[in-house]
Amino acid sequence: MEKTQNNRAWFLVLPMLVIVAFSAVIPLMTVVNYSVNDTFGRNEFFWAGLEWFDETLRSERLWSALGRNALFSAIILAIEVPLGIFVALHMPKKGFWASFCLVVMALPLLVPFNVVGTIWQIFARTDIGLLGHTLWSLGIDYNYTANPLHAWLTIIVMDVWHWTSLVALLCYAALQSIPEAYYQAAKIDQASRWKVFRYIELPKMKGVLVIAILLRFMDSFMIYTEPFVVTGGGPGNSTTFLSIDLVKMAVGQFDLGPAAAFSIMYFLVILLVSWVFYTVMTNMDKEEGV
């Protein structure tokens, strides 16, 4: 049967375009405008040209926040992805415990971001927090408000607690879709556990893993609420990530021009990484003939 081609269907996309215009395009245009202007409030703007871009590109503050954020994302991915796969492989496949595990795994994902921060802020306190006080009682000089390493460890463990289940649940869904016949064939061939993982389970999980890595990268690269609630970006600037720095600049100091230039560069990095992931994902699908 001949497929009808009707370009008028594009008009159906118009309502969505209007929504996107208000939620994304107009704010983005405003940010570009602010990045070349200076303001002291009252909607009075003065042309600054490329000054803010030049200043931001040379600012130690931007590069160190970018470095900290990149390190944070790398650590998070290096822990959460293998751990998520490990958990998914060891979750029960059916019965009561499968449902139980799914509910328990989904719980951290349902907690609002600022509540996660508050939970860990209290949990890690040495005077009333269970974790902090236990470590203190064991003779470990743990103090996340004064020691940068402890602050980093607390935030990393918090993020692992919050988000590993997302990776695990995605992998679990992919594992559930593998037909039993594959495992039976592997058993007949006397394949080792590693080979079953490498040639049956991992290829089936590839698609969801790329999505999980993309989601976790984007989220950790934009992280704001949890570290802000736990450490407020400190001690010093040791846990000041890009978003925290940006909010300090735009809302705290009302430096709208430099903050807008900073935002545009931040946006470009995210856009580049998203494009790379999107291209990898779509090309992988095409090669597999999905």
Partner: protein, 136 residues
């Protein structure tokens, strides 16, 4: 649509963009020393529109309109280039614009604000765009 119809449509789109550009030029504030090209187009407006930024967005809108017309007039199949990924004209435009942003930032970082003007980076971007449309 006939060949003539396409020409009329392309001409109408071109005229629409030219008219918007004309309106923008008219909106530029003028003082005793002539037009202030970097002045506020809307005095007291919260979006802080200036002529250079407005032209920048108009150029992007014109590129999107051109790409839409080309896609309608000359439908194309995706192809594989040096990056070994399938790309359409739209993909190549995206790669061009994204790469151009980084080229401009790199120019500013290397030469600084007092160095050679960004027009140099724009020429580099055009060379880069030609390369992307030819080989990617």
């Amino acid at each position: 649509m006939t060949r003539r119809g396409w020409a009329v449509l392309a001409g109408a789109v071109f005229l629409a963009f030219a008219a918007i550009l004309g309106l923008l030029v008219r909106a530029v504030p003028r003082g005793d020393e002539g037009p202030d090209w970097t002045g506020q187009l809307v005095e007291g407006g919260w979006m802080a529109w200036t002529f250079p930024v407005a032209v920048f967005f108009l150029a992007i809108a014109a590129l999107l309109a051109l790409m839409t017309l080309l896609a309608l007039r000359f439908p194309e199949q995706p192809r594989r280039g040096v990056l070994r990924i399938e790309t359409t004209r739209g993909d190549r435009l995206f790669v061009t614009l994204l790469g151009s942003a980084f080229i401009n930032l790199a120019w500013l970082y290397v030469f600084g604000i007092d160095g050679p003007p960004l027009w140099g980076a724009l020429i580099l971007c055009l060379v880069y765009a030609a390369a992307v449309f030819r080989w990617v």
